[in-house]
Symmetry: C2
Subunit: 702 residues, 2 copies
C-alpha cells in the first residue's frame, strides 16, 4: 500500500474509483468536502455524500466525527474543520460535526484496495482484479463472482474510551428508498442499494444523518439519506462489512436494445448484495494478494500509485451488456460516455490482453461487423476527385448508452478541416489493426484470424491507399483524406491538440502507427498463410520508416511533427508506435541493428533531443507531448515512457513519475482519474479509462 | 382565450404546464430565460431549453430571432434583449440572437391551449381535456386517444419580406439522440422524442442551434440539442405540427412493480408520435371547443385563468400505471412526488368526479386494500393508556415512484408533536370518507358501496373513537391521538402552518370535516340499507355542529381555530367542510333553516368577521387562511371561496381573483403551478395539482 496523508508528503485529498466490472458504475471517494459515492452511467462524481464516522455522546453533548467525504459549502467549512462546530453557530437541534482533515487523515492506496484512517475509524474499499472469465462460455458461478455489480467496503470503529459511541454509515442519494427483506439493507429505486453483515446495525432513511437521531419511522421515510447506525460499546470495536451494489434491469441502451449482462446472473438487488456479503472475505483476501503483487514490482511508489489509480479508473468505464444472449464488452470514454472509442481501445489493449483478451476480441468483432465502412479518399491537391480508398472504422459506436447507426460514430462530423469532431478514418484503421495484433499475440486465436481474413486483406489495401492510391505517389505517411470529411481534413486521437498532433495528414505519429500496422499485418498474414501479401507490406513499412527517418533535422536530430513541414513542432509520440512490435516480441523490428534500425536510432536521437525543458518537458520534469501545445495526455505519456525505457533504452527521470502522479492527485483531484492536462491541471477527459497503459510497466518481462 | 402581454396588464413571464394524461410528464413553458421543456417524473422545470424562432439571412448577416424560452445567464441577457447582440461581443462564429420580450410578446391562455405570438412567429401548445375512459374496460382505440403520452404543438412562421428565412424548432436535452425511422423525428434514450408532419423539415442534433449551421453529420451527433429547420420562402408561411412524446417502458416503480399504462396501448415512441401527429387536427379542434366553453362561463378572466392554469397543472402530476393488467391511478403531490396523498385526493375529488370518476374510485380502492391501518388512540391526558381507535388511512402510498410497504406512508413519522411529518390519522380518515361520498354522489355505484360496506361501518366507529372512545367524553371534535404518534400529536393537511391549522386535536377545521363525514356516512348507510347506523351518526354530527357553533365569540362571532382555546387565531377553513354536503346536494344540511342552521349561521357570521385586513385578508385583498400565519394554500382558498359564495351567500370580492391569479403568474412564475404562498410568493408546493379545486367555479349549477 502506498501511504498518503499524515506523515507523508502526498495529499489524501483526491477522488479515486472503486468500480465493479462491467456495470458502468463506480464508488467514487477521496476528495474532501466534495460529491462522493455511488455513481452510475455518469462521467462525474455523483451529487451525493458519504457520512462515515461516529457519534460520541448523546443529546446536547453529542458530536459527530466524520470523514470529510460529503459536499460542504465553503461557508460551512470553517465551522467543521479542525474543531467542533460551536453550539452557538450550530443550527438549532443539529449535532455538531467534526470533520477529519489532512492533519490526522491517513490514506493507503493499493492496487485493489484503499484505506482511510482517522480518529478511531478505518474505512476500506475493495475491488478485486481478476483474469475475467469469458461471459460467452464461462460457468455461471464464475461469472457471478467476476461480474457482480457491487463493491465491498469495510468500516471499523473502536471505542477505547468510556463514553457512548455509535458508528454511522450513511449516504445522501435521491429519495425513493425502501428497506430490503431478508437482508439488512436498503435499496433505492434508482438502482442502487447497500447492505451489511452486521445484524445489529440499525438501518434508517432521513433527510440528514442528524435528523435520524430525532425521529422514528416505520419504514423508509421521506428524504434521500439512508444508512446504518451501530453501537460500539466502551472498550470494544465493531466492523461492518458493507456491500454497495447497483441494479438496473431491463433494456438500458437505445439504438440497439441491450440489458446489463449481470441481470442474467442475478435476480435482484438482494441477490447482488447477498452474494457480495457472502464473498467479502474472499474478495478482501484477493485484493490483499494483488496489493502485495504491486508492492513487490520493481517500480517506485509513484508508478505503483499510477497503476493502481488507473486500473480502478479503467473499470469505472466498463460495461458488459447482454445483446439477446450475446455478451457485448463496452468501455466508455470516461466523462464523454462514448461507446468503445477505438482510439482508446488500442491503448487499453495492453491491459485487456492481460486480464480479458476475450473482451478485446469482442470489441474488434463489433467494429468489424457493425462499425466499419468502406470509403473513397481524395488528394487534398484535387479535393473534388475521389479515388479508391478502402475499409475504415468509426471513431466509436455511439454515446450515452445510445448506439449509433451501423457504420457511423456519434463523434465524427463532416466538413471540419482538421479540428475537433472531424473524421479519424486513417487513425482508426491503424487502431483496429494494431489492436488485432495485440489480441493475436496474446491469444493465438486462429479462429479470429480466419473470421477476419478478408478484412485483414482489405485493411492492408486501405492503408496503402490512404497513403496514396497511386503507388507511384506513396510516401510512407497518410496523404489522402477520407471522402467523409466532405472537403475537411482528418484528425488523430489527439483531437484537441494543435496540428502537431491533431492533424492526421503527414503526421509522424500516424506514420509510425502505419509502419507498425504493416508489421502487425505481416504477422497475421504469415500466420494465416497469406505470404503473397508480405512483400507489399514490407515495402510499405520501409517507406514509413524511411519517411520518419528522413524527417530528422541533420544537425539536431529533431523530427517535425508534420513530416512534410520542417517548421512544425516536435512531438514525443512519433516514438509511440514502437510499442506494438515491441510488445508483440518482434525484437528485430525495434532493434537498432534490425531492418528499421535507422529509424529506431533516429527516434532515439529525437527523443533525447526533445526531452528538454522548453521542448517536450515541463520545467518540473513532467512530459509534454508536443513542444507547441500545453495539452498532454497521461495515457500516452506512460505509453511513451515504456517505449523510451524498454525499446529505446532511454532512462526516464523518476521525478517525472512523481509529477505525473501529482497531476492525478492534485491536478485532477475531483476527476477520479484523468487523461488530459494543461501544465499539470486536468482540463478535459475526466473519469478516463485510457491511462491504464500504465500496465505496461508490469509487462517488462515480455 | 385570456390575453396576456402586450396591450394587457398581465405578464407573459410565467411557466405553465402542458401535460398528457397519466404519464407523469409535462411540457413546461412560459417563464423567460428559464429552464423550459419536456420534464418527466420531476417536480421542477427541466434543466433544458426550447429554441423556437427563425433565422434571417445567412453567413455573417444572419440573426436568430427566438422566443425567450431557454435559460440565459444574467450576464448574457443584456446582449440578447431588445436588440441583436453586436458582432463585436458575439462569440466568434456565433449567430447573433435576438430574443422576443414582453414589449412584443403576446400570450393567450385557454383551458386547453396556450399561444405565444411575437415577430412573425406563433407557437401554440394543445392539451385536450376529456371525460377519460375507464382503462379497466374501455376499448383500446379510445384509450390510445385519451392516454397517449404526448403533447401537440403548432409552430408557425411567416416571411412577409424578401430575405432568406428559416424557422428553427430545437430543444436542449441530455445527449443520447437518434433519428427515428418511418417518421420525421428524433428520440432520446431518456424516453423523450418529438416528430413533425412537415416532411421538408430537416432534423439535426448538435451542441447548440448555432453549431448546427456550421456542421453536417450523417446521423445523430454528439450534443444534447435536437431539432428541426425549415425554409420559409419569401412571401410564404410554414406551420410545423410537432408532437412531443414520452416513452418509458418496463418497470418504472419500486416497492411494487408497475409499468406505465401507455405501454399497453403503444408499441414504441414512433407509435406514440405517429398517433399524436395523426390526431393533431382533432386535438386542436377539441381544445378550441374547451377554450370556448371556459370563455362562455359566467366568470371573470382571472377565474378563467386560474381554472385553465390549474387544470393543466393537475395533469402534470397524474400517473396511470399498469399493475399486472390492473390500472392504478396515481396523482403525485407536485414537487414532492408523493403518491396519492389522500389529503390532496379529497380536494381534487371534485375535479375527478367530473372528468374521471373511475380514477377516484381507483384511488379509494387502493387505500382501502393497501394503505389503511387499524390503530388504537390515547387521550393526551393519559398518553400511556391505549384505548380503542379504529381504521385510519395513510397520508400517501409512497413517493418518487416508490411504493411504501402496505399500511405505511412515506411521509408520516413517529414521535413528532404536532409538527411537519407527524401522522394525519384522523384527517385522512375524514378524507377517505368524504372522497367516497363525492364518488358515490357522482357515480351512484352500488358495487362500490357493497364492496366497502364493512369498511364504512368501521369508519364511523373510528371517527367516534377519535373524538373519544368513551361515549360520555365525546365533544364533537378530535380529542384522542393515534398510537402511531408514539407520544407526539397528529397534524392536519396544513402541515407547515402554525397550530391554528396544523394541529389536529380540537381543530375547528377538522371538526367541520368530521361533521361532514357523518352526513356522508348517513347517505352511504341509507343507500346500503344500514339505517341502524344512522342515529349514532346524527348524534355525532349534532355534537360537531354544536361544538363549532359554541366556539364563536358572542360579541364578534369569530371562532378560534382550536375550539378549546378561545385565544387561538381565527381561520377561514372552519367553513371548508360545508363544501361536501353542498356539493352532494344535501341542501338542508347547509341551510340556515336546516338541522345545522345554527352552525351555518354562525359560520357565515365568522367568515364575514374574519375577511378583513389584519385578520384573514392580505392588504391587497388576497385571502389569508389563518390570521396568525403568513402561509396560505391556493387550493383551499378557491374551495372556501366557493363555499362562501354558494353556501354562505357571502360575496367574494373579485379583486381577490386578480390577486390570486398574480400569485400564480408572478409569485410562482417558475413553479408551473403552486399551492403555498407567503404574502403572494410561492415558498413551497411547486408543480402542485391540488388547486384544481377551481373546477368548483364551473359546477355552480349543482
Amino acid at each position: 500500500m502506498i501511504p498518503h496523508g499524515r506523515g507523508t508528503d502526498r495529499t489524501t485529498n483526491f477522488h479515486a474509483h472503486h468500480a465493479p466490472v462491467g456495470a458502468l458504475a463506480t464508488y467514487t471517494c477521496g476528495k474532501h468536502h466534495h460529491d462522493t459515492g455511488a455513481g452510475h452511467e455518469s462521467g462525474q462524481a455523483p451529487p451525493h455524500g458519504l457520512f462515515a464516522g461516529y457519534r460520541d455522546g448523546t443529546g446536547a453533548d453529542a458530536i459527530l466525527n466524520l470523514f470529510p467525504f460529503f459536499p460542504v459549502k465553503p461557508d460551512d467549512l470553517a465551522r467543521y474543520i479542525g474543531s467542533a462546530e460551536s453550539a452557538a453557530t450550530a443550527q438549532a437541534g443539529a449535532i455538531p460535526r467534526r470533520l477529519f482533515d489532512d492533519r490526522e487523515l491517513r490514506r493507503e492506496v493499493g492496487w485493489c484496495s484503499e484505506r482511510w484512517l482517522a480518529g478511531d475509524a478505518e474505512l476500506a474499499i475493495f475491488t478485486p482484479l481478476n483474469e475475467l472469465p469469458d461471459p460467452a462460455c464461462a460457468p455461471a458461478a464464475a461469472q457471478r463472482d467476476a461480474f457482480i455489480p457491487a463493491t465491498t467496503l469495510r468500516f471499523t470503529v473502536s471505542n477505547p474510551g468510556t463514553r457512548a459511541r455509535e458508528m454511522l454509515f450513511a449516504a445522501t442519494y435521491h429519495p425513493g428508498w425502501r428497506m430490503l427483506n431478508g437482508i439488512n439493507g436498503l435499496a433505492n429505486r434508482r438502482g442502487y442499494g447497500f447492505a451489511t453483515d452486521q445484524a445489529e446495525a440499525q438501518r434508517f432513511t432521513a433527510f440528514s444523518p442528524e435528523w435520524e437521531y430525532t425521529r422514528a419511522h416505520g419504514g423508509a421515510a421521506f428524504g434521500g439519506v439512508a444508512g446504518f447506525r451501530l453501537v460500539v460499546p466502551p472498550g470494544q470495536t465493531r466492523t461492518m462489512t458493507i456491500a454497495v451494489g447497483w441494479w438496473h434491469e431491463g433494456i438500458v441502451t437505445f439504438g440497439k436494445r441491450m440489458a446489463y449482462w449481470y441481470t442474467r446472473l442475478f435476480g435482484s438487488i438482494e441477490d447482488v448484495l447477498g452474494h457480495a456479503l457472502a464473498r467479502a472475505d474472499a474478495v478482501v483476501a484477493a485484493c490483499a494478494a494483488r496489493d502485495a503483487e504491486l508492492m513487490a514490482a520493481k517500480l517506485d511508489d509513484e508508478q505503483r500509485f499510477l497503476i493502481a489509480h488507473s486500473t480502478r479508473g479503467y473499470f469505472a468505464s466498463t460495461q458488459l451488456l447482454d445483446d439477446g444472449g450475446t455478451p457485448r464488452w463496452i468501455v466508455n470514454e470516461g466523462e464523454y460516455l462514448t461507446l468503445n472509442t477505438l482510439d482508446l481501445t488500442v491503448d487499453m489493449a495492453f491491459f485487456e490482453a492481460r486480464f480479458q483478451p476475450w473482451a478485446l476480441r469482442n470489441v474488434l468483432d463489433q467494429f468489424a461487423a457493425e462499425y466499419r465502412y468502406s470509403s473513397r479518399v481524395y488528394d487534398p491537391a484535387e479535393p473534388a476527385r475521389l479515388l479508391p480508398g478502402g475499409v475504415a472504422f468509426t471513431h466509436d459506436m455511439g454515446g450515452n448508452n445510445t448506439f449509433s447507426p451501423d457504420g457511423h460514430s456519434v463523434y465524427e462530423t463532416a466538413g471540419i478541416d482538421r479540428g475537433c469532431f472531424s473524421y479519424m478514418s486513417c487513425e482508426e484503421l491503424t487502431n483496429w489493426i494494431l489492436s488485432a495484433g495485440i489480441y493475436w499475440r496474446q491469444a493465438r486465436d486462429a479462429a479470429f484470424l480466419a473470421h477476419h481474413a478478408a478484412l485483414l486483406v482489405a485493411c492492408q489495401s486501405s492503408l496503402l491507399n490512404r497513403d496514396h492510391p497511386d503507388a507511384a505517389k506513396r510516401r510512407g505517411y497518410m496523404q489522402c483524406e477520407d471522402e467523409r470529411c466532405a472537403g475537411g481534413g482528418e484528425i488523430t486521437t489527439y483531437d484537441s491538440l494543435d496540428h502537431s498532433l491533431g492533424q492526421a495528414r503527414a503526421n509522424g505519429y500516424l506514420a509510425g502507427k502505419m509502419w507498425a500496422c504493416h508489421l502487425v499485418l505481416a504477422e497475421l498474414f504469415a500466420a494465416s498463410g497469406r505470404d503473397d501479401l508480405l512483400p507489399a507490406g514490407r515495402e510499405a513499412a520501409a517507406r514509413c520508416a524511411a519517411a520518419i527517418t528522413a524527417s530528422a533535422d541533420a544537425a539536431t536530430g529533431i523530427m517535425p511533427s508534420i513530416l512534410t513541414d520542417p517548421a512544425s513542432a516536435p512531438i514525443i509520440p512519433v516514438i509511440e508506435a514502437l510499442a506494438y512490435p515491441a510488445w508483440m516480441g518482434l525484437r528485430k523490428a525495434v532493434s537498432p541493428a534490425g531492418p528499421y534500425g535507422a529509424m529506431v536510432t533516429a527516434l532515439r536521437r529525437h527523443l533525447l533531443a526533445v526531452l528538454k525543458p522548453g521542448l517536450c518537458l515541463y520545467p518540473d520534469g513532467g512530459w509534454k507531448l508536443s513542444a507547441s501545445a500545453d495539452n498532454s495526455w497521461a495515457s500516452k505519456i506512460h505509453l511513451c515512457q515504456w517505449v523510451a525505457e524498454r525499446v529505446l533504452d532511454v532512462a526516464v527521470d523518476p521525478r517525472s513519475h512523481r509529477v505525473h502522479a501529482d497531476w492525478q492527485r492534485t491536478g485532477a483531484a475531483s476527476a477520479g482519474v484523468s487523461d488530459q492536462f494543461r501544465s499539470g491541471v486536468c482540463h478535459a477527459s475526466a473519469y478516463y479509462p485510457r491511462i491504464v497503459t500504465t500496465i505496461l510497466w508490469l509487462n517488462q518481462g515480455r
